[in-house]
Amino acid sequence: MERAIPGYGPLQASPLSAKGCSIGVPKECAMLLAPAGNLEVAKQAFQAGADAVYVGLRGWSRGGARGEFDRKQLRLCIELAHALGKKVQLAANIIPKPQERQKLLRQLAELADWGLHAVILNDVGFLREVRRKLPGLAITASIGCGALNTGDALFYQDLGATAVVLPGYVEPQEIAAVKAEASIQIEVMLHMVQEFIQLGKCWMPSYLNFAAAERGYPSPRLGGSVKRGGVGSCFRICQQPWSLLKDGVEADQRLFPSRQISQVAGLAAFLDAGVDVIKIQGRSLPAEMVSAIIRMYRSAADDWKRGQKADPKTDPKADKKTNGNRAVLPVMWTVQGR
């Protein structure tokens, strides 16, 4: 089915993309959720098979430098998605100051009227306020909330969240355990960079450089604060070389460990475990990269639907270009170190 969107050429919706993914839809319809830093990325993500995209709205999302939409672009994106039977989620995942909450609530109400599917939030207080005042809007507890276990999922379920995001290093059996007790949708960031410090639990940048508010944004943002910056300026503290001093003497020079996680080759295990939403990190990624990643996950998810299981060792979908480790982790990333 081809549709023409104002400002764009004809789009071909993927015949294999999940349709109608929403609250209450069975798990076999796992939604493929793509990042989009601009309209072109959203278009290509939909074309590659994404069921939904998540975007930032200028001034209200973490990582603004990675791409935020203005209101006009966001409206166009929602229209584009609706024309294709797809969805748009809004990452409003900074923690708004008390005096900002009403302004953001009004904006969310308007966006919900436009047909926004869901909003991604980071603060438990604001999350509950949105649930009470905008009952028709789906809410996702951001990965920045730091949820890791069944209790976390139940907590956000209690608050009225529709979905909660877990990091992609959580194992399928952990997800199955969460699904056994919680009815909230489980969204897993299966393609992401795992940094040394857990998402939502890092204050290293602001300890070292708490920059003044960035100019040109409608509300004062605090550069250096991952939670409140909203301008993508965490200064990549963890990706710079550090000297490790032992008793005052330099013992080593090193980076904080990090790695690129890509679970496409093992996607079936996550879908078997009951993952409801496959999330891809990266609103800073260019369109061609997002498109390539989404095609891999779309194909793997559709293989799973057909009952075909990929061999992680031979599957070409385990593309080295998007699966390469940024840093080698020689020992004990998980079990013993945990």
């Binding site: 603060d123 639990k201 004990m332 945990r338």
Partner: protein, 310 residues
């Protein structure tokens, strides 16, 4: 509770036995970062029981902390630690993870919950939600200013616990990179992370404790205590989980004297010998954290820079 509470953190029974706690009102027992920290109270439940008895036996309040970021496989152990805490008469538990807060609320309804700094309390709205889950006290996220803390305490009616001295937590990981050095260094886990380890880059420094990163400088609010008391704060923490018994004692004695003076209406003047003691216990220098809305590593105050930055 008297006019104020001064508390600290101790990770295991050995450290507890070695520490003179006479200047404290309460102690948090347990290490929040790592299950395999040397004889972590949260894993050694007989030790935890003895630790609670030992603290209470000194007339202090005994609190039990819990892991900053537990995954599902850790929750059963957390539950057992909570059961031990409740049975041994702990006065409160500290929770950093919202799933654990929910567990405490549902399974230990009579147990007061102190919300820890990793729970990300940034706003009054967030604190209000946690209060409904049984929180009676909160440590604000370390990034927020005293003005923001005041807005929460006045708006929600829940006291804040403020780190007034020590190394402020900056992050928690699922991975301990110090384990990579077991092959190279004579020290091994589980005592490796207790060594004097800092990460430095130019003027920047942070303390590595394996799965956690702490501020390199020591937060020091000594000269600001009268302002904290005047603002209505009365729960203060000396963050000393990775410090020596001498640090715990000497720093606490200074703060106890200063708090008593401030509570009596003093102007906050502190004897110079106290500053010298603080300097002796400071490896990198002093800072105020985020209390004044500035970069966490900065120091705002009257002290000479030579004293503040070692």
């Amino acid at each position: 509770m008297g006019p104020f509470e001064l508390n600290t953190t101790i990770s295991n029974l050995r450290n507890l036995r070695e520490s003179d706690l006479s200047a404290y009102d309460a102690v948090y027992l347990g290490n929040i970062y790592c299950r395999i920290f040397e004889d972590n109270f949260l894993e050694c439940l007989d030790d935890l029981k003895e630790g609670i008895a030992r603290v209470k036996g000194q007339g202090l309040r005994a609190y039990v902390t819990s892991y900053a970021a537990p995954r599902n496989d850790v929750l059963p152990k957390v539950q057992k630690a909570l059961e031990t805490a409740a049975a041994a008469g702990a006065d409160a538990v500290e929770v950093h993870n919202l799933g654990v807060l929910r567990m405490v609320h549902e399974q230990f309804p009579g147990m007061p919950a102190h919300v820890g700094g990793f729970a990300n309390v940034y706003t009054d709205a967030g604190a209000e939600v946690l209060k409904e889950y049984g929180a009676v006290r909160f440590t604000p996220n370390y990034e927020i200013s005293l003005d923001e803390v005041g807005a929460i305490t006045s708006g929600v009616g829940m006291p804040a616990e403020l780190v007034v001295h020590g190394k402020m937590p900056l992050g928690v990981s699922d991975y301990c990179f110090l384990l990579e050095y077991e092959q190279k260094w004579p020290e091994k886990c589980p005592t490796l992370c207790q060594k004097n380890l800092f990460l430095k880059q130019g003027d920047w420094a942070m303390r590595s404790v394996g799965k956690g990163v702490l501020s390199g400088k020591d937060v020091c609010m000594l000269e600001h205590l009268p302002a904290l008391i005047a603002a209505g704060h009365n729960v203060f923490r000396i963050e000393a989980a990775y410090e020596t018994p001498a640090y715990r004692l000497n720093i606490a004695q200074i703060y106890r004297a200063a708090l008593e003076q401030a509570a009596a209406g003093g102007d906050g003047t502190v004897d110079e010998s106290a500053w010298n003691t603080i300097r002796e216990h400071t490896a990198i220098g002093l800072c105020n954290g985020f209390y004044f809305g500035r970069t966490g590593a900065e120091y705002v105050g009257k002290r000479m820079q030579s004293v503040v930055a070692c």
